[in-house]
Symmetry: C2
Amino acid sequence: MRRTVSALVSSLAVDPGKAGPLHRQLYFALREAILTGRLAPGVKLPSTRVLAKDLSVSRNTVAAAFDQLLAEGYAEARTGSGTYVTERLPDSLLRSPASQPSARSRRPKPTLSQRGQAVASLGTVQRHRNRPFAPGLPELDLFPMKEWSRLLARHWRRPDVGALLGGDPAGEAPLREAVASYLGAARSVRCDADQVIIVSGSQQAIDLIARVLIDPGAPVWIEEPGYVGTRGALTATGARLVPVPVDGDGLDVDAGIARAAAARLACVSPSHQFPLGVTMAPARRIALLQWAAAHDAFVLEDDYDSEYRYAGRPLASLQGMDDQDRVFYVGTFSKVMFPALRLGYLVAPPDLVDALLAVRRHVDTQPSSVAQAALTDFIADGHLSSHIRRMRLLYAERQDAFVSLAQEKLRGLVTVERQDSGMHLIGWLPEGADDRAVSEIAARQGVEAPPLSHLYTHGPSRPGLMLGFAGIPAEQMAPALDRLTAAVGNGVSTSRQATHK
Amino acid sequence: MRRTVSALVSSLAVDPGKAGPLHRQLYFALREAILTGRLAPGVKLPSTRVLAKDLSVSRNTVAAAFDQLLAEGYAEARTGSGTYVTERLPDSLLRSPASQPSARSRRPKPTLSQRGQAVASLGTVQRHRNRPFAPGLPELDLFPMKEWSRLLARHWRRPDVGALLGGDPAGEAPLREAVASYLGAARSVRCDADQVIIVSGSQQAIDLIARVLIDPGAPVWIEEPGYVGTRGALTATGARLVPVPVDGDGLDVDAGIARAAAARLACVSPSHQFPLGVTMAPARRIALLQWAAAHDAFVLEDDYDSEYRYAGRPLASLQGMDDQDRVFYVGTFSKVMFPALRLGYLVAPPDLVDALLAVRRHVDTQPSSVAQAALTDFIADGHLSSHIRRMRLLYAERQDAFVSLAQEKLRGLVTVERQDSGMHLIGWLPEGADDRAVSEIAARQGVEAPPLSHLYTHGPSRPGLMLGFAGIPAEQMAPALDRLTAAVGNGVSTSRQATHK
């Protein structure tokens, strides 16, 4: 026995050419041998002197490896006798066949929580891709990156200690003031800076609001169709989703009341409904605020792309019409700057700010205070508003170009109409077409055109595609539209055949 | 009536010197008058010509204000007659006394969700402050900020389009590889880069894990005493907290099993228990892993300051001992760089990575990809490891200086003992002292010394203070300790008087 152990231990691979110090290599090799049972409980290990000689390493190396095994309970020292593999090492730690990586698939899958299962089974959020017609993709080449990186570098060079420690959990005060004053002027939002919370994006805002207001299983109205990210963020908090149909006047408030009058929250995009682009009618807005005030309920107004309006006067925000402190207003800098910025804002009713901040402090703290300081300067120096102005003109031209080309090239297959605002349009497919199939074919052709049906909780919907026009130069549209036309032609004929089977 | 209206409207304050365009000032003033009832439903508004003359503004200005009121439903146009305040404006939108800001406090407080209430009632997470003895405060002046800002600037100057769009939801692959290889070498963590998820910090990691595993009301073991942030993050997900006592060998696993054998998750800090600093004994580690494997439960190992070990060999991570894929390993760069960095990592069992990423995609996306790229370079160029080495030597010296000084100055009042690792020590107060009172007095003297009792879910505990030594130069310790001594003297005598009342 003794000789076997010695031979085994001496055969352990310890190689000065490999990564990591020798004593750690030896420690890992010994632990592996103990865990796999090659070194059985109670077996005496060779002395440090013998092992050092056999392995051609220093005694210190062996001693260090043994120390680690002793400290972790894999080995035990018996005074005057030597070092032994621990007798009482529980069986469960000995590597059983089930713990080999190759056997992992044979183990039962871990049980997920209900909300974990629900989220995992949702479709994924559309990732931003730099491909023709990706919805929500801004023009990145024209973003004043030089100014932005200069401001960031300036703040990083000499960050104040407060900024390095984390700053204000609501977000940096100067940025909150800039947001409050911008929203007051541009969107008729009535708030002061104390109501503004800087968030990483609209999904974090939804998450915070839902945790503060919604108990698991409580109903929440969502728009049907609507943003998958909203559904996902709510599902991840355990809320029960109540899809409420959207028509030409926006969310059908009466339908919502009929389905779940006792909902605690209604999530809407009234300025430019996502994805359909309709504007919520004044009477609907009033009815929604009335319902909220009467039922101790709240409204989450997602004003995700209100900066890009090309014609007509923008409607003021729902928040600005609300005299009962029932509206959360959510917006983002991701669309007007770039998606990876991860800075947005939440304007909360004054009564709820403390509770939101309590949750935020415990779940995560605020985004980088240095980035917030740079953004504050970017706004104050006028870079943001001049970038938005330039992009508004550019996107208006791009929409014109896109609609003309699409009406010409997709005639009879896809109906596209100009909208007064936003960064995408809906391309309506013929009744009965399978928009998912068309979208998949288009994706294989390098064209992003997410299917509308993906944005419905329940089918059926009129089939359509979301088509982003903001991120693609006009001169690149024609070849991309040719590919889309081919994809639609293929997809529609495929779906017709499927229908006739 | 007509004259009154005309007089009223003409008296509206519209001032070219004030902020915002005139038509918006006029719109706000008219809306205010409608909402407060000064302009009653059905009242005819003066013509644009008359009003423009009275207010000395252009007719376009008045027309623009009227358009906005019409669009929002506050006014209605009657063909050939003029513009009227809407008849059917619902009462609820008319500003009632309850909607005046001054009356806000008379309205019932909005109802919070159960978890919202629970989180709001928790103590706040200790914020980092740059004051003597603030626990967890690193030395910020010696951080190589020049290198860090240079790397950030380099990546911001020419960010690739992928980085601007958001990058990989698990975090950037090169950073995940660097983390996996660092943790393998330094902490015996066994993982590959696919198991690493870059998070904003340990609380985000806890949040993701709890949402995937824990249904509302399901029990989770937490250390007693333990980190308030862990309690908060779990509470915010609706988990039921089961405090499990910590003794000199770390978490008492048998006590946990007696209290809630069916818990799905146990949160521990085995390397250096927060706040007591004890190391979890090998037998306890083995028992914890055994329990988890037997009960389809998981262990969350928070290795929050393992980089700073001054004596003795570090125990390998619990994750490295686990052959059953039951351990989540969580760490952060905030302690070794600076708190506002907001970058940390979560190593998950392979089976659970997809579910965690599904939740993360819907709740929030990953931290800034540019910062991740800069951090990858910071690690690869050796800046991080050399900074950690320098800080390890410095903090060891600071601990020595602090313990010597504290033992001299606080003799008889506070017992302080050196620890082998970490950035803070416990100053034990005499039995019966009120550590909260002492901490408050110290805070008024400009010294941070959070009370230990704040870190217990249930009392009583032996009273003590958390004392950070890492962020304060040795030469500044003596005067700060004098202030602490005075505070403790005051606080202890106050508590004694209170006890004898």
